[in-house]
């Protein structure tokens, strides 16, 4: 089921959290709402779910106006940031909840519920834990229970609020791959909120970058990364060096260069910048080199693979305090008014 959001506005007191938002989410896609905290992404998600009411504007499900439809009738699955599992119920009963509360006429028979819940627990790989209670599970397991519970009612739209936010780094990585695979299996239209660009890039078919209640850009992850529409998008999606009036920029233009798109040369050449190596830092397979520019003392970060760094160090005799020349391979330009 596709989702269309039209001219949505929402404010909390004086704060505008949704500023005339319009967005199309095609059926079957996995979309990330990406933005810093306070950018309105969670509110947008909650308005789509029907947990929050917009001041104006409309939400359509598959072309049908759902703006005033009650949460219960929207047939959405919602996964809460802190899972909101029912603490006094077993994992099995948590997943079965959505089926048990249905009116008698549409409620499945007990053995049908049992079968469905067992299937879902298998799907999220928690079959053996059906009898446990939420507090006996790890964060990652709780997250999967929350997902199974949301899927039990066969929602047409799955909404996830910072689904991996409360997990540690390793579990987060595993779970997001798993979510990607799950979506490929289940194919329900899914929207998830995140402030982690890496997560959005890895999991989503499409990324919607939000800032201060507005959509800055939407598109496929590669497209958004390679062709950022605004300086905000560029800066939010990764580290970047900012240049004014250098590297062949016209007046009033600002140039942005990603740290991994800079070459280090021993001699000055066309379009290079002189800089002094201030320090090097190796984190895992990557090495980050911090350069200082001569006059204004601004810093430029250069990033490369550790192996490349070792080769370069041996070839150029790189050392802290030495003077080198940096040549950008790619410059993204915005006029300063942006």
């Amino acid at each position: 089921m596709s989702i269309e959001v039209r001219a949505l506005n929402k404010r909390f007191g004086q704060t505008v959290v949704c500023d005339n938002l319009s967005l199309d989410i095609p059926a079957g896609e996995l979309v990330a709402l990406l933005g810093p905290s306070g950018s309105g992404k969670t509110t947008l998600l909650r308005i789509i779910a029907g947990l929050e009411v917009a001041d104006s504007g409309s939400v359509h499900f598959h072309g049908k106006d759902a703006t005033h439809t009650d949460v219960r009738e929207r047939n959405v699955g919602f996964v809460f940031q802190h899972y909101a599992l029912f603490g006094h119920m077993s994992i099995f009963e948590n997943v079965a909840f959505g089926l048990r509360v249905r009116p008698k006429a549409t409620r499945p028979a007990e053995n049908a519920i049992r079968k469905k819940v067992t299937e879902l627990l298998e799907l999220v790989q928690l079959g053996p834990l059906a009898g446990r209670h939420p507090h006996q599970l790890s964060g990652g397991q709780r997250q999967r229970v929350a997902l199974a519970r949301a899927l039990a009612v066969e929602p047409e739209v799955l909404l996830l609020d910072e689904p991996f936010g409360a997990l540690d780094a390793k579990v987060r990585k595993e779970l997001r791959r798993w979510l990607r695979r799950l979506h490929d299996e289940v194919h329900v239209t899914s929207v998830f909120v995140t402030h982690d660009q890496e997560e959005a890039m890895e999991v989503a078919d499409r990324v919607v970058v939000m800032n201060q209640g507005r959509i800055e850009q939407e598109g496929a992850p590669d497209q958004v990364y390679d062709h950022p529409a605004t300086p905000f998008v560029l800066q939010f999606l990764g580290d970047v060096n900012l240049f004014h009036g250098r590297v062949g920029l016209a007046a009033g233009e600002a140039g942005y260069v990603r740290p991994h798109e800079l070459d280090i040369l021993p001699e000055s050449a066309d379009g290079t910048l002189p800089a002094t190596l201030a320090q090097t830092l190796t984190i895992g397979p990557h090495t980050r080199l911090e350069f200082r520019r001569p006059g204004d003392e601004g810093t430029i970060d250069v990033e490369m693979l550790r192996a490349d760094y070792v080769a370069l160090r041996d070839r150029l005799g790189l050392q802290v305090g030495g003077s080198y020349h940096l040549k950008p391979r790619r410059v993204t330009r915005f006029t300063a008014s942006d």
Partner: protein, 305 residues
């Protein structure tokens, strides 16, 4: 987790120190006081407890049985005493369920919704705690008494509130009102509304959410509140004393009956009835302790989420 692994690390350290030939000193935390200070503090606390709690409590039972079991039994099966017990139970049986419902409703309102005047409502709920019970009783006399606002109308319709059972129930309801609400509000506020939202998205209606999600989450705190409410309802003296009129065999509750017996120098009888009340209090205490452990456990589970 870290708190659990910490004590495990200590014996290792001690063993290492011992193997280096350092004489092992009894371990003392930096917050521990010297032994004599600890003994003095614990001793004075015990002395205080003995003097002000154990001795009086023991006295109640000692005095009650001093003249033998026959006198004890006679004091309890005496019609006026039985009537007082019945009235106390009646007032309790009416006021506890009422305050159970009021308390849940108020806590639900305050914890799950945002509205203007929320703080005012919170303050009002605390009113029975902050007002002297005598004032609480007087309020009802002023409203329902013969000279009060509604007195003449009530008199015309032959309804008796003050110096009758309804007044006693009203006064009991008033003084016990905050117990359930006060117990539930902090827990429900800590739990937030995420689970209710989750239930709603899954298609549950208002009553289903209440019965299946909200209520089970607070059941131990609720029971704890009910136990406190019950203890106070049975033991309330001041407010009930003002509205009761002390009509023997009719409007005397157990605490009032005890006072009358005592004032009439019937010490054995007074202590016999008092021992009943004290026994109820002891049972309540045990229940309270058990439930308290469960509340703590459920708070802890909540915290881990």
């Amino acid at each position: 987790m870290s708190a659990q692994s910490l004590p495990g690390a200590k014996p290792g350290l001690a063993a290492a120190a011992a193997s280096e030939g350092v004489p092992s000193v009894p371990r003392r935390k930096s917050t521990d006081e010297p032994a004599w200070v600890r003994r003095l503090l614990i001793g004075s606390a015990l002395a205080f407890l003995t003097l002000f709690l154990f001795v009086p409590l023991g006295t109640v039972f000692y005095e009650a049985f001093r003249k033998g079991a026959a006198v004890y039994l006679a004091a309890i099966v005496e019609p006026d005493a039985l009537s007082a017990v019945k009235l106390t139970l009646l007032a309790t049986v009416i006021s506890v369920p009422l305050n159970l419902v009021f308390g849940i409703a108020a806590a639900w309102c305050i914890a799950k919704f945002d509205f203007h005047g929320k703080n005012l409502l919170l303050t009002l709920i605390d009113l029975p705690f902050s007002v002297s019970p005598v004032i609480a009783g007087l309020i009802y006399v002023l409203v329902f008494g013969l000279q009060g606002w509604l007195g003449p109308w009530l008199h015309e319709h032959d309804l008796k509130v003050i110096f009758a059972v309804p007044g006693i129930v009203l006064a009991t309801v008033f003084v016990t009102f905050p117990f359930v609400a006060r117990e539930l509000i902090p827990l429900m506020q800590a739990q937030g509304i995420e689970q209710e939202e989750a239930a709603r998205v899954l298609g549950a209606g208002g009553w289903q959410i209440f019965w299946r999600v909200t209520l089970p989450n607070v059941k131990w705190a609720l029971l704890y509140g009910v136990i406190l409410c019950n203890a106070r309802a049975m033991g309330e003296f001041g407010a009930v004393s003002v509205v009761s009129g002390h009509v023997r065999g009719q409007t005397n509750t157990m605490p009032l009956h005890i006072e009358i017996l005592y004032n009439e120098y019937q010490f054995a009888a007074a202590f016999a009835v008092a021992s009943l009340l004290a026994g109820l209090a002891l049972v309540t205490l045990v229940l309270k302790y058990v439930v308290e452990q469960r509340v703590k456990a459920s708070m802890k589970v909540q915290h881990e989420h």
